[in-house]
Symmetry: C2
């Protein structure tokens, strides 16, 4: 298979799906944007849904590979969480179209493709869960509760909505560091910090 054509199709598809939406993008205009006749396009892809799946899968697999490298390092849990956050924000900054498409259009996948992408996303989520569990096991983190895992990952995932518009002079690493500090240390000012969450409950 011609790798560079395949790559070009996936890049163009990510851009168009992000700009126009997956459902509103026609295969013919996709081919035109990639500089391919309909026949040539269908030589490379089986269907529009396959294209959505292929670009989503590739994107999540790459994020997974980088995340696994972080987990394999000999670092304390807080440092691993920070490193995972930095990789996550770097990916969002560098691959904005893919991230937008995966997050906004993943519900458009059906059957086995929906299932496989869900599995990959679960594996990615598990990286964060593993670091939080490691921290809890070492007595460093208070909890690796599922709601905490989903809350932490959600905070990072949602950055795709505002990172471009709102980061100002901050780098993706700066944003990752600030959000990691928020997760690790919370919002209480030092002077008023109390050890037990229940103490500040209403």
């Amino acid at each position: 298979m011609d790798e560079s054509t395949q790559e070009r199709i996936l890049r163009v598809a990510a851009e168009m799906f992000a700009r126009k939406g997956y459902h509103a993008t026609g295969v013919a205009e996709l081919g035109a944007a990639a500089g391919l006749q309909r026949g040539a396009l269908y030589y490379h892809i089986k269907s529009k849904e396959d294209l959505l799946f292929d670009l989503s899968k590739r994107h999540v697999e790459e994020a997974l590979a980088r995340g696994r490298e972080v987990l394999a390092k000999d670092l304390p849990p807080a440092a691993k969480l920070r490193a995972l956050a930095r990789e996550h924000l770097r990916t969002i900054a560098a691959r904005c179209a893919e991230v937008t498409v995966v997050i906004r259009e993943m519900h458009s996948l059906t059957g086995i493709r929906a299932k496989r992408l869900k599995e990959l996303r679960d594996e990615y989520e598990n990286l964060f869960a593993a670091v939080l569990r490691e921290g809890a096991a070492q007595g460093v983190f208070a909890s690796a509760d599922r709601v905490v895992v989903l809350g932490v990952l959600g905070m990072f995932n949602w950055t795709h909505v505002w990172l471009d518009a709102e980061r100002g002079p901050l780098s993706p690493d700066d944003i990752a560091d600030r959000l990691t500090d928020l997760i690790i240390h919370g919002q209480l000012a030092p002077a008023t910090a109390v050890p037990a969450p229940a103490a500040a409950r209403q």
Copy 2:
């Protein structure tokens, strides 16, 4: 105007846009699902985009009204943050289709409608910013930094992706409380808590 027909159209539109996507939903099938002929439908709505705008606007305005009630209360900042979070999670639990549509399809709005919805969403974001600023001014919260505001709101916004599937026996209020505790107290186990975020930096 016949309010109940209007209400029904908005409800059906939210459900169909959430299930099929805004672009993939035709006006004819929308009318059919709402039990209206094309002519009758166009008596009530000007265009599909108007429908998306109307349901998004109504939804954000309602969330804003409830949030403003919280802010007007005589409560300490941490309690206001918790109350805002509870309102937010209750809305997501009760109005899942609208929330999904606003979040997933707001980029499909154009011109003045896009601008107006952005303003409403900014006003909603400002509720969280105001509570964090109030806390920072009182010396209770460490920061009301823009990244912190966006991070906090992002954690709550992202719950729309997982709340239904993952909350198990927890109520929306339980989830709101756990996430509020995470934001306020952070993830450090009590014994290892240190006051200054910089201390744990790598």
